[in-house]
């Protein structure tokens, strides 16, 4: 290297070193600021997840960590065995419950949000539909439980219409649809809030142009509103679906044991039972891993479908 070259290179090198040092200082500061959140994330999410992974391959009856024993894949073979109850009816119930409540809640929330967007006092309507989200699951579950009773409001209406009473929560045929409807009803509020924000983001000029071209309300809804609402809908679908797959509090309140005859038993409730009632922590953790994979695959599938349709999902 010549003297001239070295005199040019030295300041460049110095500047790069200074930039690197500055970056390191900034990086350290950034990590320092992030530390509390990262620590929380590690202690309450990463560690329990790793512990659950270990337990899924172990036999443990709880209470004493020193009694954890390696069990290999036995828990998974037990859980995924078609002779058992986890795959059918429990996992099937979980998927039906999640799909059913997401479908009902999404259709309902799109309709409600679309109507609210065209009404006066929008804040009032949004609050009204958001109230079930604020109310506790116990209150919601108990009120619906009373309405579903043989002498309850719904059967009273059916009786007036000449229909015999239906055992909504005691008949295995109706129990799962009955709790699915309640979960969908309770989830509409949150979805409405997101979808009304999504509707507000659609520029008016599209509707004005469509109106000039003579499009009716129905056509505008299908051709403008729904396509442009897709990012918000995708968010609603993914979050509601994950919530639906993990939910079990409402089922405990309404049926107490996932009955009748496991008709409303879902994966999260079965995990709770296995771990806290029967002390089968390995089985419960293996179920959790299976549910994790199911949720992961379905979420990826939703993202893949959305991407194929050109949505920004990152």
């Amino acid at each position: 290297m010549t003297t001239a070259e070295s005199s040019i290179a030295t300041p460049t090198l110095r500047a790069a070193t200074a930039r690197r040092r500055g970056f390191h200082r900034e990086g350290r500061a950034a990590y320092l600021f992030l530390a509390p959140a990262l620590l929380f994330f590690c202690v309450f999410l990463v560690l329990p997840f790793l512990f659950a992974v270990v337990l899924a391959f172990s036999s443990w009856s709880g209470f004493d960590l020193s009694t954890i024993q390696w069990a290999g894949v036995k828990n998974f073979t037990d859980v995924l065995s078609f002779d058992g109850t986890f795959v059918r009816p429990i996992l099937v119930n979980t998927l039906l419950f999640a799909f059913g409540s997401v479908a009902l809640a999404t259709v309902g929330s799109v309709l409600v949000a679309y109507c609210i967007d065209r009404l006066s006092f929008q804040g009032f309507w949004r609050v009204l539909y958001f109230l079930p989200v604020v109310a506790t699951v116990v209150a919601i579950g108990n009120v619906w439980k009373m309405m579903y009773q043989p002498a309850g409001l719904i059967n009273g209406i059916l009786n007036k219409l000449g229909v015999n009473s239906i055992g909504f929560l005691s008949d295995a045929t109706y129990a799962l649809p009955a709790v699915t409807v309640v979960h969908a009803w309770a989830s509409i509020g949150g979805a409405v809030l997101i979808l009304t924000a999504g509707l507000k983001a659609i520029p008016d000029m599209y509707y004005e142009a469509a109106e000039v071209d003579g499009a009716n309300t129905w056509r505008m809804f299908w051709q403008i509103t729904l396509p442009l609402l897709r990012p918000s809908l995708l968010f609603v679908l993914i979050t509601q679906f994950i919530g639906g797959l993990q939910s079990f509090a409402l089922i405990i309140v309404m049926t107490t044991d996932g009955g009748p005859v496991n008709a409303t038993n879902v994966a999260a409730f079965e995990m709770y039972q296995q771990a806290f009632k029967f002390g089968a922590w390995g089985t419960a953790s293996a179920m959790a891993m299976v549910l994790f994979v199911v949720i992961f695959v379905i979420t990826l599938l939703q993202l893949w479908i959305a991407r194929r349709r050109g949505e920004e999902t990152s």
Binding site: C42, V43, V46, L47, L50, F51, S61, G62, F63, D64, L65, T67, D83, T85, P150, A151, N155, N159, N164, S165, G167, L169, S170, D171, A172, D257, G259, P260, V261, N262, Q273, F276, K277, F278, G279, A280
Partner: protein, 424 residues
Amino acid sequence: MRLSKGVRLAVALGLLTTGVACSGGESSGGGGKVQLTLLSHYGSDPAKGGLDKMLEQWNKENPDIQVKSEVVKFDDLLTTLTVRQTGGRGADIVSAYGLWGGQLQKANVLASVPDDVAKGINSSYSPAALGAVTTGGKLLGYPTELNTYALFYNKKILAAAGITKPPATWAELADTAKKVAKRDAKGNVQVEGLSLIQDGDNKSAHPFESLLDAAGGKFLGPDGTAQFDNEQGKAALKLEADLAAAKATDPSISPTKQFRSGGVAMAIQAGWWVGSLKTQMGDKYSDVGVAPIPGPTVGSKGSLAYGFFMGVNQRSKHAVEAWKFLAWLNDHKDDSGVTGMGQYLADMGLIPPRTADAATLRKSLTDPNLVPIYDAATYAMPEPNMPGAYEAKTALHNSIMTVLADGKSPDEALAQAAKAVKPQ
């Protein structure tokens, strides 16, 4: 030697986990004074008041061994026990449901009962009480609450149907249930003939096990294998299936809510129900009658006994003091010669598990409804509590419900339940 970032992170996480796992218990001794903790579900009166009174007396008489009561709801008791024990913060003395005994024993939660204490317990308590808190021949602690099952009936409803005596055989039981059951034109139940379920965790299992005992059958063998998929089991479940088919029983009816208002004519329930009905029904309690659960033939009867116990935590640093306190709590007697614990349980309408207490108190029972409940302690089948018994009971309940709610055949349902029972 420099460790890579990944290794350092792993070590840190490992230390954190180990730290959590090794944290110690909370009982402590300071200046020679020992503080014991007692975890139970006796959180509301009259249970709370009675226990607090006994603890107050002990704490006054024993300044060096103080006992502090910690209470949670029964529904949260097992979860609380699990979480606290795993976190190294378990109570010194635990009050637990006998059914959990196998699970607690398998996980080394309970300290062995000292030989002299075990000898005293084995010689003084009823077979039902001992059976409900013994797992694999090993006693778990002092038997406390003891409940037996009996047939509760509404005298007024039965009298209106021309029935003056409670049923004494299965045939009479079925006839009575069918005779008194009523529905309106829309199919709504107005009076359920015989309730075969419970609201709590026991659901349909305990009433069925009582009928099974009446038929001479057994639920589980000593090794946890299913013993109910046989002639006796099928006969008991067939009786339930016939009642369901005749719409004389309906699992959607809650007996604890409907019996008091005359919506249920008969119910197979545990003895604690007497206390609840007295409070809920007031003057109308005089309509309630209690009889032994009949068997298939004249003179045969059956019942199920389940119990609670108080044991000492394996991890307690003051096990000696804890056993000393438990011995006092269960053995000290009042002027009438009944132990404090026996009187405490009797005041709540429960059966004292100690034979002498039960015999003394039975003589002075003012409520005749308690007599068949007390008597059942002599013949009731103790609820099995080996590891896996809880799962077995849940599997049995699910299968019974397929019969009561779905009309499945009893033979098929019992075979399915037996297949789901996995001895551990």
